[in-house]
């Protein structure tokens, strides 16, 4: 397993800080720079000593950039919401972020049938929901069935449970989940908060009511307040005794509670963190990074596993049906040249999968920058350079429009690089709703997004051209899909590794995916925050987090 864990704590300012600072046009930064000499880092030795012994108490104030809208982790897919939901509920298993290995949590043991269709879990004793009711096999059954019933509203969880046929509960401590087809991704899915558990009172509530709160989970924190666009408060649950086997301590959480405040302005999040009005900034922009480092505050970053930011050519359109055009796209992009405008914690893509994804293989040899090869590929295919530098073939220009909503300035550099070989990519940044509307119309020549998932099955979810697959490329099925489908049927690591790598190689070679850059989650904390941990999907796990006195 080739997995790296990009964990950078307390990196101090470096030589490029000044250079980066000068490039910033944001007016606040001028004012910030003027005050950059305040508050020397005093009493570092004392601080270190206090930092070694975790202790209870204090409320962690976390800044998030947008309203989580809906808090139910079984329903939502946005990171702010999942980072709250993770603290409210526990999962059957946990996934080690360092190795990708699935380890016990609420399930102490499990067995998977040889055909990977039946998953039998043995549940931990004595687990209760925060309303005092017991967590048992029936709770597992009720929650999974409720997720299936929610359908599209459970945007991630319902895809994890596709093909669920049966849930057996022979006794209170044993549950067997049966699928119609082999389902290798299910075990990893049981480690996510999307398949976390809630008391029957929550399960019986309407989907809308669950969004607004009233979530009674098994987790170390209990939801107390949710005010839209303002804040979410969660408080410690006393008597919590069933942390994940990855946790660093037992018993109640260290924190008295966590306050998530919605602060839309990045400059205000930054200033509030520096002035100690916040403990954790969950929305650090690349422009903030040098300033935070200059203030000697810890930045903690981790690459999101799953599908990297990529272009996905729509092969039902004549332009992208041409494999030479798709291959030229991959050859014309100089990924290393994108680094200067990325966050320093973010890397250009080295495969379709991000490096933190289990079974990732470095395929950067397939992603080499070769503009000459791209040009000759297009020349030989009949694409001649026109008067304006854009190639033309049979009166059609080599031009397409990319609609996107993400904050992804690197895409403009990609546009320039493509122009060098005569490909015209027009960019149209629009609100997310409009982008999705245009994508679902199927009229776009290419799509652009990423998808976080700590399992290589993410490739099948997006690319599978077989029956029922999302088939992002709108292409005919071929041997790549066979590999993808087989990879979702085996839990044999070696075999699965081979299939995933074959599929990834095929996707790049055929130009089904034009991988660009990885996504990284970047947070900054005050010097008083300790024990922050990312889970395998780069979401927050705050059970072990504790606060030392502010200086």
């Amino acid at each position: 397993m080739q997995e790296r864990f990009a964990f950078n704590t307390a990196v101090t300012g470096n030589a490029t800080t000044g250079a980066r600072l000068r490039r910033l046009v944001f007016p606040l930064m001028i004012a910030t720079a003027l005050s950059a000499c305040d508050k020397p880092q005093a009493a570092t030795a004392d601080h270190k000593a206090a930092a070694d012994t975790p202790h209870s108490g204090g409320t962690l104030v976390v800044a998030i950039d947008t309203d989580p809208n809906c808090l139910d982790p079984q329903q939502v897919g946005n990171n702010n919401s999942l980072n709250i939901g993770r603290q409210l509920t526990d999962s059957l298993t946990d996934q080690d972020p360092a190795t990708g290995k699935i380890v016990p949590w609420l399930a102490t043991d499990w067995k998977v049938s040889d055909d990977n269709r039946r998953f039998s879990f043995t549940l931990r004793d004595g687990v209760t929901f925060s309303d005092g009711t017991a967590f048992n096999a029936q709770s597992v059954k009720d929650n999974l069935q409720a997720i299936v019933a929610m359908g599209a509203r459970a945007s991630l969880a319902s895809t994890y449970l596709k093909g669920l046929t049966e849930i057996d509960t022979p006794d209170a401590n044993h549950v067997t989940v049966v699928f119609a087809q082999p389902n290798a991704q299910f075990l990893q899915a049981t480690s996510t908060m999307s398949l976390g558990f809630f008391a029957s009172q929550t399960v019986k509530a309407t989907v809308d009511a669950r969004c607004q709160g009233g979530l009674i989970g098994t987790g170390p924190f209990v939801l107390s307040t949710f005010v839209h666009n303002q804040k979410v408060d969660i408080t410690r649950r006393s008597g919590y005794k069933w942390p994940s086997s990855l946790a660093k301590h037992q018993g109640d959480s260290y924190l008295d509670g966590i306050e998530y405040r919605v602060i839309p302005e990045s400059g205000v999040r930054f200033g509030s963190l520096v002035s100690g009005q916040l403990d954790l900034n969950a929305g650090v922009t690349p422009q903030d990074e040098p300033l935070i480092l200059a203030k000697k505050l810890p930045i903690i970053a981790r690459t999101n596993p799953g599908l990297v930011y990529s272009l996905f050519p729509n092969q039902s359109k004549p332009l992208m049906a041409d494999i030479n055009v798709r291959q030229a796209l991959n050859l014309a992009i100089d990924r290393a040249a994108l680094q200067p405008i990325l966050s320093r914690y973010q890397a250009p893509a080295s495969s379709v999968l991000a490096k933190t994804t289990p079974l990732y293989q470095n395929l950067s040899s397939q992603l080499k920058y070769d503009p000459q090869a791209a040009k000759s590929l297009l020349d030989n295919d009949g694409w001649k350079v026109g008067a304006d530098g854009v190639r033309v073939k049979d009166g059609k220009r080599l031009s397409f429009t990319l609609t996107y909503w993400q904050s992804a300035p690197f895409i403009e550099l990609v546009q320039q690089q493509l122009k060098q070989v005569g490909i015209d990519m027009q960019l149209d940044k629009a609100p997310i709703g409009q982008v999705i509307a245009r994508q679902s119309s199927g009229a776009q020549e290419a799509e652009f997004y990423n998808l976080t998932r700590s399992d290589p099955d993410v490739l099948r979810t997006v690319f599978d051209a077989g029956p029922g697959g999302r088939n992002v490329n709108k292409r005919g099925a071929n041997q790549i899909d066979t590999a993808l489908q087989q990879s979702s049927q085996t839990l044999d690591t070696e075999k699965r590794q081979q299939l995933v790598t074959d599929a990834a190689k095929g996707l790049i070679a055929d130009g089904d995916a034009i991988p660009l850059v990885e996504l990284a989650t970047v947070i900054a904390t005050g010097n008083n925050v300790h024990g922050f941990r990312y889970d395998a999907s780069s979401r927050f796990q705050l059970y072990d987090t504790w606060l030392s006195p502010k200086q």
Binding site: N69, V268, L451
Partner: protein
């Protein structure tokens, strides 16, 4: 002694016809209703024309986009979003006539409750900002008006233009930097306590004060030049007496007209101010609802803002006669 300068341009206005008082009021009310209807319909139209719809947005939060088309359609049917325009519009108007603003598509909360929660903090902010703006803007204009012509006066007279040119956004961040981040005097966020109101009020008040000062400076200068002022001076009235008793009351009438407009601007400015200071309020509610295309909430916010605007202007209309009795007798018959 009062010397009022407002003169109606229509001589017929001078004729007092009390029998027409009621129709005039009714006409004003009907006009207000028409304004509200137009605001509602226009918003509805704009939201309808936008591509995408709230269901698709709701199901596609974050980076994920794995949704089942059939289930999307089922949800759309639930919110009448699959109906043609006129049916959706008819539903909306029907509900509105029953004072039912519907439920937020994103949160499921009744829109009335969301708006009623958000309105008080925004009104408080707007009223505070207006009060501060009147003190700063009015004080500056009055102070400058009594200064002898010269460099100091012309320098001070450029201040309003400067204030009007400052982007609210930038000003808010600057105030935060000075009085929250480097000196812990005021909190950078939230609605808790009077301290949290200070910086947002200043941010919102500065551009408003600038507008007020610009209008009032002109108005004051004009009144100072009137012959009756010279006459009073010759009688021995002091400058302070003239300013307080004669010039300010006369110069205030055009300001009253402006107040109705300014209140509208304050509500609009609340979107930016509340966003910078992470405050609860109508502006944040509107901003969030627009980005998720939560049609019922956007409608509710627009309707509320329009109602406040219409009400303020209505009150301003009623206040004119108090400041100047001639306006009362005049416009009573004029139907202006």
């Amino acid at each position: 002694m009062t010397d009022k300068t407002w003169v109606s341009d229509n001589p017929i206005d001078k004729i007092n016809r009390p029998s027409l008082r009621l129709p005039r009021l009714v006409k004003r009310v009907l006009m207000s209703v028409a304004v509200l209807w137009a605001a509602y319909t226009l918003t509805f139209l704009i939201l309808y024309i936008l591509p995408s719809d709230p269901v698709t947005i709701m199901l596609n939060q974050g980076e994920q986009s794995t949704v089942d088309i059939a289930q999307v359609n089922a949800l759309k049917a639930q919110y009448h979003l699959d109906q043609p325009f006129y049916v959706q519009y008819a539903w909306a108007i029907w509900d509105l006539l029953h004072l039912n603003l519907g439920h937020s598509i994103v949160s499921g909360d009744p829109v009335t409750r969301l708006v009623m929660q958000a309105l008080p903090p925004t009104l408080l902010l707007a009223v505070c900002a207006l009060a501060v703006a009147i003190v700063i803007g009015g004080g500056l204009a009055a102070g400058v008006s009594v200064l002898p012509a010269g460099r100091i006066k012309s320098a001070l007279l450029t201040l309003p233009s400067l204030g009007a040119a400052l982007p609210t956004f930038w000003l808010g961040l600057l105030l935060l930097q000075a009085f929250s981040f480097t000196r812990p005097w005021f909190p950078a966020m939230g609605n808790h306590g009077w301290q949290s109101l200070v910086l947002p009020t200043l941010t919102l008040a500065v551009p408003t004060a600038a507008t007020l000062a610009q209008v009032m400076s002109r108005s004051l200068a004009e009144v100072w030049r009137r012959p009756f002022i010279d006459a009073l001076r010759l009688k021995g009235a002091s400058t302070a007496h003239l300013l307080w008793r004669h010039v300010l009351p006369n110069a205030a009438v055009p300001l009253l007209t402006l107040t109705g407009m300014i209140f509208g601007h304050l509500l609009a400015g609340a979107v930016v101010t509340e966003t910078i200071f992470s405050r609860e309020g109508l502006g944040r509610l509107a901003q969030g609802a627009v980005s998720t295309q939560d049609i019922p909430v956007v409608q509710g916010v627009v309707l509320t803002a329009a109602t406040v605007f219409v009400l303020v202007n209505f009150v301003v209309d009623l206040l004119y006669p108090l400041l100047d009795p001639r306006i009362d007798s005049g416009s009573a018959g004029g139907g202006k």
